[in-house]
Amino acid sequence: MERKGVTNRVGSAVRGKDFFGRERFVDLVWQKILHGNILLAAPRRFGKTSVLYSLIDKPRYDSKVIHADLEAVTEPAQMILQIIEEIAKDETFENSVGKLGFLKTSWNFFRDNFQEVEFFKAKVKLRDEIRTDWQNRGKEVFQKVAEIDSSVIFILDEFPMMLDAMLKNDRKEEAKSLLRWFRSIRQSPELQDKLRFVIAGSIGIDRVLNDLEEIPAINDFEKLKLEPFSQKTANAFLTELCASHDVTLTEEVHTKTLELIGTPIPYFIQIIFSEIQKAYFQDEEEITIELVERIYKNKVLGVDCKTYFEYYYARLRDYYQPNEEKAAKSILREIAIAVGLSQQNCFQIYQKAIGKKAEPQRFSGLMTELENDFYITFDSEKQVYEFGSKLLRDWWLRHYGMMID
């Protein structure tokens, strides 16, 4: 019997009735898609893929949505093939894309109800053919897609990951070509108005583009940041979870749970709820404030989240030069201790770390990067920088509050 209400899905994408709290953001995405391409930015576990699935499951404005997960793609021909495969699922494209010369023989496999293995054999052949001239083949596909009446939205999930994989597999030049080609597609006058692209990824695209020396490659994408829930939404989310899983929390416990999490990142609400649920049903423990605090300390700040935040610390070393790394760590440590720090104070710390070469411009750049990468946020009312998440701050304070860099 299907569960009523929201099911607590951890790790997988949430769809349908389980998709909660992001409706406004989805509205925003649709608004923005009308005018341009979108880069969806958020750390891992924020719900990007769920948002993408919402676009796929409920298209608007009479548009077609084509989704390709590029996580395991390592070459341009594969990407184009994957896109073709997705396009072929929609019969609307039969008379356009389906009529392309190089697709004539294999198109039937996509459309007719052949056994998948036969389809796969055709795909392998097709991929080899696309490889010979992927730029032109790909362009032809997009041109044909644009012939239909509706606008078409391409969702390319894990796009940065694909580029990163190509970089790591000695395919840097190919990755650069792909980026330039992709840009030319987007800027082509005949395609501009009909095609839209949404790219998203679990790793930041900026670093990958930097490594590829192609920073301007996607400067036509509008960046939309997926934020944590609002307090109101978080409240409602937790209530829904309780209702659908037959868990009763008193008002005090409910409030305490959200207070412990702090910034309402849905993933952490799910984690803590999952543990409460286990304690209640499996261990038959009464759900008290003490239990919830214990779960927060041992589980949420324990194994589940430790590596999540360790990544934040470690990547400072990967992303920045040693002196800036030191500056960033010093600033973050001080913000963790002080809870909030003014820009001026942060600059003083920056100056101390960098020395006489400290430049206000570079300092601003660093602070912007830290904001973009979700370490900190700027509270314009209080005029201070704070940690982006209470959990991250708790963790930082616990592990690096006393470090001398």
Partner: protein, 809 residues
């Protein structure tokens, strides 16, 4: 009776179901998750994490049965279960091929053959195999429930990030499969943020069984085994079963392994059964342990020993004391061990955590493996016997075994007899009264077997009262004991001496040490083959700085036991103190051959290598010591010193900074740092980089203050040096830059005079000041005019001394 007590794969379905206790709510939750899966993308995948023996495989089997037995579920789902060992899966292609294989559908065979032939390329084969899986699912209108044991091992074998990304893609975007995996602990692929499967699964742990569940499990097992009067047996053995909860840590597999022993009270089988069990797990635990760095292995050992002795967890502070290291260091290692599932914190009391080994069987194995002697190695067995059997039962068993030994001896089966005799000793060790009562039996038997070496371990002075005259005579003839040995008082004197040593540790009073050695001398003739006694004696003499006597004592220890790295290290230390450096080094080298990571020996060796000016080796030793003790001030300091000698000045500075972090109270380190900085400042001044030189001077000044040195004297000599050997003007500029013109105005005057030869500079000085300035001028002039040194006055002598301190080691 079924022998597959701990291998669910070999058990029948009915048995597995019958033995499924305590986990029903969890099973229900899993089944509910399966039922409520949405179609298409967004399937919820699960992971069960629990140590070996907690019931992961059983849970997977129960899930498989749940699908098979339920028409609703079996209509929509096909369960595919992977066995515990899947060593042949090294690529994702292998994985999907296995799935196809386990679907057990004849119609798939030709298709599998075809794709294997057609797609030799691994990537294509992977995709082709996956499409076959999708085909099968579509054709049979069923989704596939993958039940994967040891999933972490499979991912490790696959290794490739792209393949794991592809797996994630499939699990995320296709509803064809639902995945329920198992692993003994959290693993890298789900914990590392950068990994595709990071936090991808909903995770469940399996809790320890509590007493009611253990009782239930045993009841069910006994029912299957047709054991009569089971309730009566359970009642009778209630205490033992309760003890099982402690001993097994609520681990179902262990409970089942030991239940027969408990119920049948078959003590004879206990040892064999347990040892067989430990043999079976040795390859696995050996591999698990060998993956650890040395420090962590030692920590595992300490926890294993302690928890089995005291039946409770041990704090990081206690571990640190036992290991002669710092609590901080232990804590950081414990954190890692905890994350990797080796240990867990029992409870939080105030600020301390108390740690135990996560898997009770691993704890037993660790103790058996790492026990320092035979006695320690069988501690776990003694403890088990003590928990499970009462004194009377054990006494009966001892008498039975004694008879057996005699019979085996008569039959000429001496080695078997020895094995039984060893077990007898174990039983005797469970209770002091049993030892007292049966000691003579054991001694007699050993004497008859001629097993002198084993006897040495057993014969202790406090057992002697029970021996007959004839037995004592035999022991004397075999020179196992000294005539006086069994006199009363040996033990008391030893204990008293140890008490004096403890007092000395508390109160640092040398009189206690003297009293201790007096007692040691008295009991030395009785010490027989007690290598440890002689070590204690040697270290006490060492603390009294009586190196010759310490050396004699340690030589005696080594004569008894040549394999003690500790003893060889002490020997080296004494030889070094006696000036026999070469022999000292040889001794310490031998200690390190016996135990390459012996930190104390490394610490002893470093000064000797320094004397030999083998600085490269010093650096190597320091690096090794740092690996063991990352916070070792000594190692960092010595490394800094050696690197400096090797002219790696920048690295030396980095090292001394580290040393200071770990011991900010070490004045020598601060001074070393100051000197390095001043030397660097000299080079910078030579390169006309006064700004950076200034920073060096500031830092040096602070360092000298921290070193409680007279910084003005140091810096004065530094500036003199600059003026004399580098450039006077720059020296003067630097004085101004460092804002020290008030302190060193005399030098400024001297420099000004030398630059301008303007007599008025001197004329306007007061007579006392003028004298000093003129002396300074002479000093500076000496290098210019190539004159020999002027007759030093007191002040000059003092300054020269400071100079030599400032600019040399």
């Amino acid at each position: 009776m079924n022998d597959n007590l701990y291998n669910p794969d070999s058990m029948s379905k009915e048995e597995i179901k019958a033995l499924f206790v305590a986990r029903q709510p969890l099973l229900n939750e899993f089944v509910s998750t399966i039922r409520n899966q949405q179609t298409g993308a967004g399937t919820q995948h699960l992971l069960i994490i629990a140590p070996r023996g907690m019931g992961k495989t059983t849970m997977l089997l129960m899930l498989q049965f749940a699908i098979e037995d339920n028409a609703d579920l079996s209509k929509n789902w096909q369960a595919v279960r992977f066995p515990e060992e899947s060593y042949d899966i090294t690529e994702l292609a292998d994985f999907w091929l296995k799935v196809l294989d386990y679907l057990d559908d004849e119609s798939l065979k030709p298709k599998i053959e075809e794709i294997e032939k057609r797609f030799p390329n691994s990537e294509d084969l992977r995709e082709a195999a996956w499409t076959l899986v999708k085909d099968w699912s579509k054709k049979n209108k069923k989704r596939i429930l993958l039940l994967i044991d040891n999933f972490d091992m499979i991912l490790e074998q696959i290794g490739n990030d792209i393949e794991q990304a592809r797996l994630r893609d499939i699990l995320m975007n296709y509803g064809t499969v639902m995945f329920i995996g198992c692993a003994p602990s959290y693993f890298h692929q789900i914990q590392d943020y950068q990994q595709p499967l990071y936090n991808f699964f909903k995770i469940f742990n399996l809790n320890d069984l509590k007493f009611p569940d253990i009782e239930d499990l045993i009841r069910r097992r006994a029912e299957i085994d047709d054991i009569p009067n089971i309730e009566e047996l359970l009642q009778k053995n209630r205490t033992r079963i309760k003890a099982l909860e402690t001993f097994t840590g609520g681990n179902p597999r262990l409970v089942l392994m030991l239940y027969r022993i408990i119920i049948r009270s078959d003590m004879t089988e206990v040892r064999t059964g347990l040892e067989r069990l430990l043999d079976a797990v040795t390859p696995f635990y050996k591999d698990k342990t060998e993956k650890l760095p040395p420090q962590q292995r030692k920590i595992i050992n300490e926890i294993a020993q302690y928890s089995l002795e005291k039946n409770e967890g041990i704090s990081p502070t206690e571990i640190a004391q036992r290991m002669r290291t710092t609590p901080n260091q232990v804590s950081s290692q414990l954190k890692r061990l905890s994350e990797n599932g080796y240990v867990r914190a029992l409870n939080i009391r105030g600020r301390s955590s108390f740690y135990v080994i996560s898997e009770p069987l691993y704890a037993i194995w660790a103790q058996m493996r790492f026990g320092r002697n035979a006695r320690e190695k069988r501690n776990w067995l003694v403890k088990f016997l003590k928990i499970i059997y009462d004194e009377q039962e054990i006494q009966k068993e001892i008498e039975k075994l004694d008879g057996r030994v005699k019979k085996l001896k008569i039959d000429g089966r001496e080695s078997k007899a020895q094995g039984v005799l060893e077990y007898m000793i174990c039983l005797m060790e469970t209770h002091p009264s049993l030892m007292e009562k049966n000691f003579s039996l054991a001694v007699e038997s050993y004497l008859e077997l001629g097993e002198i070496s084993c006897l040495k371990e057993v014969v202790k002075p406090n057992n002697f009262t029970t021996l007959s005259k004839e037995t004592i005579q035999k022991l004397l003839e075999k020179k196992l004991i000294n005539k006086e040995y069994y006199k009363e008082g040996y033990n008391e004197k030893y204990v008293k001496a140890l008490d004096y040593l403890i007092e000395n540790r508390k109160n640092k009073n040398i009189e206690f040490l003297k009293k201790a050695v007096e007692l040691f001398e008295e009991i030395t003739p009785y010490a027989l083959d007690d290598a440890e006694f002689f070590i204690t004696k040697a270290t006490t003499y060492d603390n009294l700085d009586e190196s010759q006597k310490a050396l004699e004592a340690i030589n005696q220890s080594i004569e008894i036991d040549k394999t003690s790295s500790w003893a060889w290290s002490i020997r080296g230390r004494q030889l070094a103190k006696l000036g026999q450096k070469k022999e000292a080094l040889a001794s310490i080298n031998h200690s390190l051959e016996l135990e390459p990571d012996f930190d104390v020996a490394l610490e002893e060796r470093i000064p000797l290598l320094k004397d030999l000016e083998d600085y490269i080796k010093v650096v190597e030793d320091c690096n090794q010591l740092i690996e063991i003790h990352p916070n070792s001030h000594f190692a960092w300091h010595e490394k800094a010193s050696a690197l400096d000698k090797l002219h790696y000045h920048t690295e030396a500075l980095e090292c001394i900074n580290q040393a200071i972090i770990f011991n900010p109270q070490c004045f020598r380190a601060w001074k070393f740092k100051a000197i390095r900085l001043l030397r660097r400042a000299v080079t910078r001044v030579e390169n006309n980089n006064l700004r950076d030189a200034r920073n060096d001077v500031f830092e040096a000044m602070e360092s000298l203050k921290s070193a409680k040195e007279n910084w003005t004297e140091f810096l004065f000599e530094f500036y003199i040096y600059l003026a004399k050997y580098v450039d006077k003007q720059r020296a003067k500029d630097l004085i101004y830059l460092t804002k020290l013109s008030d302190e060193f105005f005399l030098l400024i005057y001297a420099i000004d005079y030398l630059e301008t030869k303007d007599e008025t500079i001197l004329e306007k000085l007061s007579p006392e000041v003028r004298i000093v300035v003129e002396e300074t001028i002479k000093t500076l002039q000496m290098i210019e005019e190539g004159k020999t040194k002027s007759e030093p006055n007191k002040k000059d002598r003092a300054r020269k001394k400071s100079k030599s301190l400032a600019l040399s080691e």
